[in-house]
Amino acid sequence: MRSRSRRKSYSLRNSGINPSGFHPSQIQFYIILAPVVAFMLVPIIFIVSNAFKPPEELFAYPPRFFVVNPTGKNFADLFTLFSASDVPVSRYLFNSIMVTVVSMAASLIVSSTAAFALSKKRFKLKQTLFAVNTVALMFVPVAVAIPRFLIIARLGLINSALVHVLPALAMPVGLFLLKQFIDSIPNDVIEAAQIDGASDLQIYWRIVLPMVKPALATIAILTFQATWNNADTSAMYINVEGLKTFAFYLSTLSSTTTGANLVAGQGMAAAAALIMFVPNLLLFIILQSQVMSTMSHSGLKG
């Protein structure tokens, strides 16, 4: 494929961008990347290591980074003890799982229907609406926490399970990525289906959705991160203990003011932190190649 003379001048197969194997010129990058990667890993390893530490190691002096005698005691404590308000921890976990699963399913439908319309349907406001969504990429939810609170209160969503789900569904980044991905489906495919008499709903369901699976996987991950990790919703909009989520419970464990039993609290917080983190990691590992393929369509034209 590549001529030998050119190979000599620059492009050895294994040097440069996206090489297929090892080349000595890559060593320099490994050397630079190694400390960065180590730094990024420290807190992650710490989460894992701490979760399995027995109490005497959690409070050891001098402190030890790695666990020596791993134990499952912190997890056992977490699931046998009740929170200060008599709600079992499994209840928070169940709430989190329900909220996350429902949000992911709803988000996939809401984002993909809108993205299909913005990409493949013809209507007057199409460009304008997409531009509005692109501006909304810059939306910073915390900036409008107050009006959001007023609106959610006015809608009667305080203490409703729906408040965990609905605000997470308006996700401009999700719609943006999905729309860019659907753009890559040739219009001929859609037109051919139309000539065969397929309805819009059939085109959306049978043709578009199967072709954009990587983007759907990406939306699923983004929604997962937004809802599973969310402690604010429970703190701000929910006053009923039985409707709060696991992330919120973790935040109460770590705050010193409510930690009734500080020693047990530390171990439980470490175990809970690991339970919070692992699903994130697993989901990303499973879906990472899909995410990368979506990201190559992520370009934003100014």
Partner: protein, 304 residues
């Protein structure tokens, strides 16, 4: 009669498009558009949540710029320092890391990308637990213990409670978790650049890697660069609550880690001065918009 006919025609032509859009549009309007409009309107009022908002014109903005010592002395400088280091700093770091990863074969690249991305998956509440332990202020804190052992410090340092240490820690912690969606987009963008461009340039005598980055890589992936920039800007301003999470107090010790977002919460949810808090929100949104425009200038496609 004619109106009904034209409405029917419109419905047949565009109705299905709007039907597909409707669910997203409703949620977008309720949870994004209306809050922004309400914030804007409230910013011209005095509102304590008990009585109805009372219009006071530009008073909130005037107070913000002339009366609010905390804002001028701490919040604004802090926000700018934090935003500059985390925003452009994190963005350049993300690009360089992505570029180096792109020079590696697939399997090590995927593994390292996963490690670099994994901090951005962690939630704020998870990390509050971890950082508080690592930076614990007594001698059994991990960082204190390490530095005491090495003889770098003599006494344990109050990392999260001392004004001079809080801000640097906030910046490091935020950078740590900033290799997110934008980083992945840039990595994908670099990998997509047509290799023939590099070969052609090599024939033309361009061989230095820096020249390659500036003359080939970046120009060929401007859209991804812009997407990464917008994500970096949003992430930077979004990360504002980190100081409060680390120090466990709002306001942060001597306002050392006080950012715009904390100032909004301070006035909105602690003092119930909603109108004033809304004015700060508008300033924050304008800052995000301004920086995004700037990024647009740098990386926007010329042929609009």
């Amino acid at each position: 009669m004619t109106m009904r006919v034209s409405f029917r025609r419109w419905l047949r032509k565009e109705g299905s498009a709007y039907a597909f859009l409707s669910s997203y549009a409703v949620l977008f309007i309720v949870f994004i558009a209306i809050p922004v409009v309400v914030a804007f309107l409230l910013s011209f009022t005095y509102f304590d949540t008990i009585q109805a908002p009372r219009p006071i014109g530009l008073r909130n903005y005037i107070n913000l710029l002339t009366q609010d010592d905390v804002f001028m002395k701490y919040v604004l400088p802090n926000t700018i320092e934090f935003a500059v280091l985390v925003g452009p700093g994190g963005y350049m770091l993300a690009f360089l890391l992505a570029w180096m990863l792109a020079q590696l074969p697939r399997i090590p690249r995927t593994l390292l990308a996963l490690i670099l991305y994994s901090p951005s998956m962690t939630s704020a509440v998870t990390m509050a637990v971890v950082w508080k332990t690592l930076f614990s202020s007594d001698q059994s804190g991990y960082l204190n213990s390490l530095l005491l052992d090495l003889g770098i410090i003599q006494d344990p340092v109050q990392w999260l409670q001392s004004p001079q240490h809080l801000m640097p820690i906030m910046i490091v912690v935020t950078l740590w978790s900033s290799m997110g969606v934008g980083f992945l987009a840039m990595l994908a963008g670099i990998l997509e650049v047509n290799p023939e461009l590099y070969e052609a340039a090599a024939v033309d005598g361009l061989s230095n890697r820096w020249q390659q980055i500036f003359y080939i890589t970046i120009p060929s992936m401007k859209p991804q660069m812009l997407f990464g920039a917008v994500m970096a800007i949003v992430g930077t301003f979004q990360a504002g609550s980190i100081g409060v999470a680390l120090s466990g107090a709002n306001p942060t010790p001597q306002y050392a880690g006080q950012l715009l977002v904390n100032h909004i919460e301070d006035y909105g949810f602690l003092r119930y001065e909603m109108g004033y808090a809304a004015a700060i929100s508008v300033v924050l949104l304008l800052m995000v918009l301004f920086f995004s425009r700037l990024a647009n200038r740098l990386f926007g496609e010329e042929d609009r």
